[in-house]
């Protein structure tokens, strides 16, 4: 498994580096264009939507992990089980870094006294180390990305169907996090949030099962 992990880490650093660079560019762009003072421009939109953009990036990264990366690793003699296990560690790494990045991004407006606008509350609801629903959303979207890649190599139609569902799921998951982040225990909102959280866990588990089954029978092309 060590070899598969080394192999995947090579591209993971590049992907995570790109994500961090994008965050830095968005933050710097926001600062330079007067977003902290209330300016309404593209950087403000990017900053506000950063949780969604992160999910989209994660989806694309994991899609590659289960298409070209998987194919190349197996063609060089990787064991399918090792690749699957290494993939799980990489998904956790991505989720962890995304969570940390989101925590930092959501803390920036408060730390630096940016003018409060509605979007910041949206962002704040997703950030923070205590909000474990965001890394869960990351894991769910990444599992869908992997499954989508695997299905695409077998059937283009199924791959596209899962891709559309995953994107919609990603948007829905973020919206739910937004709507119910502040719900108090016992309220209807918290019950819906709990149900959707269970749904995300179930989707992740089913995807993981399907990923394992598909990787285990994968034919190198």
């Amino acid at each position: 498994m060590v070899r598969s992990l080394k192999y995947l880490l090579r591209s993971a650093w590049v992907s995570l580096g790109a994500m961090l660079a994008f965050a830095a560019i968005v933050t710097a762009g926001a600062c330079l264009t007067g977003v902290p003072q209330g300016a309404n421009n593209i950087f403000r939109t990017y900053f506000g939507c950063f949780p969604l953009l992160t999910l989209l990036m994660l989806f694309l990264y994991t899609y590659g992990l289960c298409t070209s990366d998987l194919n190349l690793a197996l063609s060089f003699g990787a064991r399918r089980r090792d690749y699957f296990l290494a993939l799980q560690l990489i998904l956790l790494l991505y989720a962890g870094v995304s969570w940390a990045l989101q925590t930092v991004m959501s803390a920036i407006p408060d730390l630096f006294g940016w003018t409060s606008v509605d979007r910041w509350s949206f962002l704040m609801s997703l950030g923070g180390l205590t909000n474990w629903r965001y890394p869960l959303a990351c894991l769910t979207i990444m599992a869908l990305g992997c499954l989508c890649g695997l299905l695409y190599t077998r059937s283009r139609a199924w791959g596209i169907v899962v891709m559309v569902l995953a994107i919609l799921g990603g948007i829905a998951a973020t919206t739910v996090l937004l709507l119910f982040a502040d719900a108090r225990p016992g309220s209807p909102g918290s019950l819906v949030a709990a149900a959707l959280t269970c749904g995300a866990v179930a989707v992740t588990a089913v995807c993981e099962l399907l990923i394992w089954r598909t990787v285990n029978r994968y034919i190198v092309r």
Binding site: N71, A73, F76, G77, V220
Partner: protein, 295 residues
């Protein structure tokens, strides 16, 4: 049992309703250069994929040193199957760079020889930063060859390594293969359609036809069994009795038969009023697998 023997027993493989390999048995002995030849769609790449656990099988078993190859890292560490590179990859162009392939190979192959890889890279004039989709067909073959040779795997398999290479590069490849073989005595399996050129390199030849192994014999031994007998129709017919006639061509009363046989029957032909000429490997292949298409 020799610990380095790669063996396939009773291997069957289908894609949907199409059966590609039928109850196939094959033994790859260590320290030989095998040539795998077969027509398009004969099942060569499928067979090589199954031997290296890159493809699944429906029934049967593949073992290396008596141990299953499937999901067995100890066995997989001894095998390199360097596949033909594709300019497109699943969703679009193959944007992976040459250096990505080489660095990945270095991670997975325990005997990877970086110094040798660097030498070959320079010798082939390949640019590591180039994307695979930007390479010519010949350059893609060079990457395939480079990975196979630098892997230093005890069993090294190349799928169509000469595809797209010009004649000079093909000669260079055969030379490198023989040099490496002389140095390491590792096992090579080379799948190719350029049969005659590679024939002198193959110590043993495997002929695959419609998912079945027709031959797995030493190249010289196999070729020596096949001859053309030509002459007057009636005499050729008489001489060919008792020999296996694979194909016949006739022009007027002149007849040429491709036959298989040796010993007394062939001696009789040699003393008759007919021309007996040897076949080369390509002719043998056409005679065995042509199924009349070549005529």
């Amino acid at each position: 049992m020799n610990p380095d023997v790669l063996r396939a027993e009773g291997v069957c493989k289908s894609y949907g309703k199409k059966e590609v390999l039928h109850d196939l048995d094959l033994t790859i002995q260590p320290g030989k250069i095998y040539g795998l030849i077969g027509r398009n769609g004969a099942g060569k790449t499928t067979l090589l994929g199954i031997l290296t656990a890159q493809n699944t099988l429906d029934s049967g078993a593949v073992t290396y040193g008596g141990q299953p190859v499937w999901e067995n890292q100890a066995a997989l560490d001894h095998i390199c199957f360097s596949r033909e590179l594709q300019p497109t990859l699943f969703t679009g162009p193959n944007n992976l760079k040459v250096k990505h392939y080489l660095k990945s190979a270095a991670i997975y192959y325990p005997n990877w020889d970086q110094e040798y890889a660097d030498r070959l890279l320079a010798g082939f004039k390949l640019e590591p930063k180039k994307k695979i989709c930007q390479l010519s067909k010949g350059q893609m073959s060079m990457v395939t060859i480079l990975i196979a040779l630098a892997s230093r795997a005890p069993i090294t398999i190349l799928d169509e390594p000469a595809a797209g290479l010009d004649v000079v590069m093909r000669e260079r490849f055969y030379q490198l293969l023989l040099e490496d073989y002389a140095q390491t005595n590792r096992t090579f399996i080379v799948s190719t359609h350029i049969i005659e050129e590679a024939a002198s390199v193959f110590e043993q030849v495997i002929i695959l036809d419609e998912g079945r192994i027709l031959e797995n014999s030493p190249t010289d031994e196999l070729i020596s069994q096949f001859h053309y007998i030509s002459g007057r129709e009636d005499i050729v017919d008489q001489v060919c009795r008792g020999l296996e006639v694979l194909s016949v061509q006739q022009m007027g009363r002149h007849k040429t038969a491709a036959v298989r046989g040796s010993g007394v029957k062939l001696e009789a032909a040699l003393s008759a009023d007919v021309d007996v000429s040897p076949m080369n490997l390509q002719n043998v292949f056409v005679a065995l697998c042509g199924h009349g298409d070549a005529q």
